[in-house]
């Protein structure tokens, strides 16, 4: 190991090392060598030999000088091209793993939400679209109320009011009453809760302003629990939709049908319903009916009796796709 030089405190050594680096021909060289020859400094013999070696190195500066050949350059540029191309076409592996991992997590969350959700928005939209425009060609029950026999229909309700089916369906004339009395005609056939079905009824304008007409979809409950019902209701010339949870939709919508009648349509699916009357959509959304109970369809009149009128319900049909 060479002993350290006290270069910082020896100005000549500073000059000399500058000269040794800069080499012959440089101002530093000229200064240092002149001083060495002229003044003579301690260790000048050793310094002179070092200067001589430095001169030899200057003469041999060509030693091991190389430069890149065409093959070297071509190989390097090819590798740089590959590097640049790979930079553009791919991300670092860690980034890819992070991105893929992120997508997997998001997909899992989405799948979980989809599974947990009773009915996704997409499903609801699709179900509503099917109810609005789907074809319902398989008739479950039908009635034209022209005096003929009714199959797949049954009359129920109070004993006070009977139904007249000779010229349109209407409550038979009775003595006036202060209380509303009801008369019901409903289907004996039922529809499964996972099936789509439509209840199409041609309703004429009632001549009795106190008459309430209801078209309903009800659960045929298997136990003694309270039956749920979705109903289109006409009262005082206004139509509205009553939901099983007690809410009403589109209260106060005018219904004008005349004697020829206007179509009321209640389409139900597994979870959704679309109710239209007089060419206007009154409600589209969840029907809140049970997903397990069978469903029946019916017509209900609430009347105070007394006045005789024309047939109110001109025809009715329940159909499935």
């Amino acid at each position: 190991m060479s002993e350290p030089l006290d270069i910082e405190s020896d100005p000549f050594l500073m000059q000399l090392t500058d000269a040794l680096r800069a080499g012959p021909g440089s101002p530093e060289w000229h200064t240092a060598v002149t001083k060495l020859r002229k003044d003579g400094v301690q260790g000048s013999s050793e310094h002179a030999m070092i200067v001589a070696v430095r001169e030899h190195l200057e003469s041999g500066k060509e030693y091991r000088t190389v430069r890149a050949g065409p093959g070297f350059t071509r190989r390097l540029m090819d590798r740089i091209d590959e590097e640049a191309a790979s930079k553009h076409r791919s991300w670092p592996l860690a980034t890819i793993i992070a991105i893929v991992g992120g997508f997997v997590v998001v997909a899992l969350i989405a799948a979980l939400v989809y599974v947990i959700s009773p009915n996704s928005e997409a499903e609801r939209t699709a179900e509503l679209a099917g109810l609005r425009s789907g074809a319902f060609g398989q008739t479950v029950a039908q009635a034209s109320f022209d005096g003929g026999s009714l199959t797949n229909w049954q009359e129920s309700g109070g004993e006070q009011v009977k139904l007249d089916t000779a010229a349109g369906l209407r409550p038979a004339t009775t003595q006036p009453s202060k209380q509303y009395m009801n008369a019901v005609l409903s289907t004996t056939s039922t529809v499964r809760p996972n099936e789509r079905a439509v209840f199409e009824v041609l309703v004429a304008q009632p001549s009795d302003p106190t008459l309430i007409v209801q078209l309903f979809v009800e659960e045929k409950q298997l136990d003694a629990s309270r039956p749920e019902e979705l109903a289109w209701t006409l009262q005082n010339g206004e139509a509205q939709v009553a939901l099983p949870d007690g809410r009403f939709a589109n209260s106060g919508t005018k219904f004008s049908a005349g004697k020829e009648g206007s179509l009321v349509r209640i389409a139900v699916g597994p979870t959704m319903t679309v109710v239209t009357s007089g060419g206007r959509e009154l409600y589209a959304g969840s029907h809140f009916l049970s997903a397990t109970n069978l469903r029946a369809f019916g017509i209900r009149f609430l009347t105070k009796g007394g006045r005789a009128g024309d047939g109110v319900v001109l025809s009715a049909r329940v159909a499935k796709p």
Partner: protein, 233 residues
């Protein structure tokens, strides 16, 4: 440090105009990276070329490579003494310079940055003592190693005096006998013309230590090449 320039681009920067006998002034080196024309590119500084490389200018990097391939490869050859190693490490130096171009901080001196990469790779190589497979010399993709690698050949081209040729050859041969730190200072300071300040940055060693290594390295060379023995004798 002497860096090779590209003659074609330098010459093309001055265009004669027949209608005007006087040469038009040289176009200024444009500061904005995107506005530089190829003419000005050849006249741009190393640091500007590197900045352009950072912005994806491959032509700028090619010019830098053109300027620096000889200094870098020669440094490696002198330090490692093996042309095959020079080829493989030299490739890695320029590949890393391209890959890590974004880490260069303008306007730091490019040669310092580049030789720091070069030195680190050379040290790593020496530490691992990994040798490239020996190949036929003619397969090497380096120019000049057949002639410049022979100390006597170099000495004979340097002077006609036989005695001096012998002395030069002995000094050059003795370079490989020096301790690595002394050899490094001589290679950088003398053969690569680097200042002590530059060497200080590259080697992370104080300038005063580098001066000492230079002095003692040359002193040792005098002995290894026979000067010391003559003195004693």
């Amino acid at each position: 440090m002497a860096a090779r320039r590209t003659p074609s681009t330098e010459n093309s920067s001055v265009k004669a105009t027949p209608a005007k006998p006087k040469k038009p002034p040289l176009p200024p080196v444009v500061e904005a990276v995107g506005d530089l024309q190829p003419v000005a590119l050849g006249r741009a500084s190393d640091e500007e070329l590197m900045r352009r490389t950072q912005n994806g200018d491959r032509q700028a990097f090619s010019l830098l490579y053109e300027r620096y391939n000889a200094p870098v490869l020669s440094y490696l050859y002198r330090m490692l003494g093996n042309a095959e190693d020079v080829e493989s490490i030299g490739q890695e130096v320029f590949l890393r310079a391209f890959r890590f171009a974004p880490t260069y901080k303008f306007p730091a001196k490019l040669s310092t940055w580049l030789f720091t990469i070069t030195r680190n790779l050379a040290i790593n190589h020496a530490r691992r003592r990994k040798r490239s497979p020996v190949r036929n010399v003619t397969e090497l993709n380096l120019e000049g190693h057949e002639t410049s690698g022979d100390p006597y050949g170099v000495a004979s081209r340097a002077t006609d005096q036989a005695e001096k040729q012998e002395e030069i050859a002995r000094v050059l041969t003795a370079l490989d006998e020096l301790p690595a730190d002394q050899k490094e200072v001589i290679m950088m300071g003398i053969f690569q013309d680097m200042s002590y300040a530059e060497m200080e940055q590259i080697t992370k060693t104080k300038a005063v230590t580098l001066r000492s290594r230079m002095f003692h390295g040359l002193k040792r060379l005098t002995k290894l090449s026979g000067g010391g023995e003559e003195e004693r004798g």
